[in-house]
């Protein structure tokens, strides 16, 4: 009884949180009381007040405005990363699983290598080659997470391709592409939707972490991770700089984790038993 309520609640709360996150990102300009890059020289590292709700940072910029703008940066990063992983991962997974054989073997080895590569290293190397920035973050995290999509798509294709309805479609002379997208792909939708929410949360965390290390989003753009990097040097004097970006990161990541957990319970009960996330 308690369980079923918690289940539905998770999805409900998660979706509302996602909605808030997306709205803040879209309407950032309307919400920000100041420009995210405007410095107020007289008000350096001020504590939260009526004028500056979350205080000001070391350059005298309004922390509230920067956190709000950071929401947009995070939203752009996570949506682009997740979208691109699906764009590359789904076709590779479909082809790999459907045709099998040598193509499958080679693709799986390549995916294995990408899979095994620690994501921080990938982020650092791409940033070093291309120069740090939002685009580099998106590229490196897409490379890091697309193997997950490939694996999930592939395994659901492998599990349905020997079933009778696929054989029937083949016998009736449908071509492979139509079979793949019309009959095989819909069967991998449920786990894919769940994985999409997980990648959204990973992408938010990944962008924040790379920006924290100084190899992600650059000034003058604001990013939660970058704000925390600057805050870390002022633990003794300006702790408000630490709290607010952190709370926003947790909120955004939690929204997708709630949604993912809720969706998984509804769409894919087996997955929950196996992975328990």
């Amino acid at each position: 009884m308690i369980k079923s309520i918690i289940r539905n609640k998770k999805l409900f709360i998660g979706l509302i949180m996602v909605l808030i996150f997306v709205c803040i990102g879209i309407f950032a300009e309307q919400i920000m009381p100041y420009d995210y890059d405007e410095t107020y020289v007289g008000d350096i590292t001020e504590k939260p007040s009526k004028d500056f709700w979350f205080g000001t940072d070391i350059l005298g910029r309004d922390v509230f405005s920067r956190v709000i703008y950071g929401t947009r940066v995070s939203l752009i990063a996570s949506i682009s990363i997740t979208g691109l992983t699906l764009l590359f991962g789904v076709p590779v997974g479909l082809l790999s699983g459907y045709y099998g054989g040598v193509v499958d073997d080679i693709l799986q080895r390549v995916v294995d290598i990408f899979f095994s590569f620690p994501w921080v290293l990938m982020g650092l190397l791409v940033a070093a080659i291309r120069g740090p920035g939002l685009t580099s973050v998106i590229i490196s995290l897409t490379i890091t997470y697309f193997p997950q999509i490939v694996r999930i798509t592939r395994s659901s294709v492998v599990s349905v391709k020997e079933q009778d309805f696929i054989k029937a479609a083949k016998l009736s002379g449908e071509n492979d592409l139509i079979i793949l997208f019309k009959y095989v792909f819909p069967n991998s939708l449920a786990p894919l939707i769940v994985q999409t929410t997980i990648i959204m949360s990973f992408a938010i965390l990944g962008e924040a972490a790379l920006s924290y290390l100084g190899w992600g989003v650059r000034q003058p753009l604001s990013s939660w991770g970058m704000m925390l990097q600057q805050a870390a040097s002022y633990l003794w004097t300006a702790r408000h700089l630490v709290y607010f970006p952190g709370i926003f990161i947790i909120f955004a990541v939690l929204s997708f984790n709630f949604t993912g957990d809720g969706l998984r319970d509804i769409l894919d009960p087996r997955y929950k038993r196996i992975y328990g996330r």
């Binding site: 095994s116 190397l125 924290y212 290390l213 633990l235 630490v242 952190g246 947790i250 996330r277």
Partner: protein
């Protein structure tokens, strides 16, 4: 079994050679080289040419790779271009520190995750279970660097118990060393512990509903014995798989934690040499991560058969 181990090691070596090629080419794609950084803004072209020749950077990248690989087989990782010390000397102490941090982190996380996971499963569908699930879901949503910073605020700024940074070798002052390691290790542990708790809880709940447990229960085996011995063993196998899958994430997390606490480990060296384009050290650092990754995966595979005697290779 022996044959299987050999095959795993062989595959591992092939993967490593592949990774070394990729790393070598990627590093040489990075614009700017150490010589330019060494000579600063107004370089003398003749000196640069001389220096490049001295370090073998004037040869084609493929030749450079084979020279590097040949030396690697002899155990020679070359010399740091910026620091002028052998790479091995730079790496070894740092590898030791990073391993000690990682192990302590894993010990903490296992010590937290196994009991909480089992208790949550045992008290399934109660408020205890709900509390454990909520806290662990919250914790996997927190970036480790933020946890690290908050730990610093609580334990260093407010309570003043632990230092925020620095390093003391364990042989000089063991307590001091432990004090330095505790916050980074707890930071590493908090995230892994949350994931592992969720996993153990879910697996235990599933395993406890299986027929063999029902049968044993009806045969009069006590609940505690069922949970701790019969169910846990099976519930732990997927946890091993997950740990194997998350080694890459874990290693990335430790790089970040090292930066948060300015801990002089391998990750800190990696970040520093990446900025300096110190090729030999950079390549060696990444190779160490790759080797660690492959070795840990082999060990985890072998652990399967220890945990579950039914699995034979």
């Amino acid at each position: 079994m022996g044959k299987y181990i050999l095959r795993r090691i062989l595959y591992g070596l092939i993967t490593l050679v592949g990774i070394s090629v990729i790393i070598f080419s990627i590093i040489h794609l990075i614009p700017g080289d150490p010589i330019q950084i060494m000579f600063g803004r107004n370089p003398n072209p003749e000196l640069i040419a001389l220096a490049k020749k001295h370090y073998g950077l004037d040869k084609p990248v493929i030749t450079q790779y084979f020279i590097w690989f040949g030396k690697l087989l002899k155990g020679d990782l070359g010399q740091s271009i910026i620091r002028r010390t052998p790479v091995v000397e730079l790496l070894l102490p740092r590898i030791g520190r990073t391993i000690s941090l990682t192990l302590l982190g894993i010990v903490f996380s296992v010590a937290i995750a196994i009991p909480t996971g089992i208790i949550a499963a045992w008290r399934h569908n109660t408020w205890t279970d709900f509390g454990v699930s909520s806290i662990s879901l919250l914790l996997i949503s927190v970036p480790e660097f933020w946890i690290g910073i908050v730990f610093m605020i609580i334990f260093s700024v407010w309570l003043g118990i632990f230092p925020t940074s620095g390093y003391i070798p364990p042989f000089e002052d063991f307590v001091g060393w432990l004090k330095i390691l505790i916050l980074p290790a707890l930071t590493v542990a908090s995230v892994i512990a949350a994931q592992t708790t969720r996993m153990i809880r879910a697996n235990m709940i599933e395993v406890m509903s299986l027929d063999y447990i029902t049968l044993m229960r009806s045969a009069g085996v006590r609940q505690r014995r069922l949970l701790l011995i019969h169910a846990f063993r099976n519930a732990f196998i997927p946890v091993l798989t997950m740990i194997g899958m998350q080694i890459g994430m874990l290693m990335g997390g430790i790089v970040i934690v090292e930066r948060v606490f300015t801990f002089p480990g391998l990750g800190a060296l990696l970040l520093k040499t990446l900025e300096e384009r110190d090729y030999p050290v950079l390549q060696a650092c990444i190779m160490v991560y790759a080797v660690a990754f492959v070795v840990i995966n082999i060990i985890i595979d072998l652990l399967y058969s220890v945990v579950n005697p039914k699995i034979r290779y």
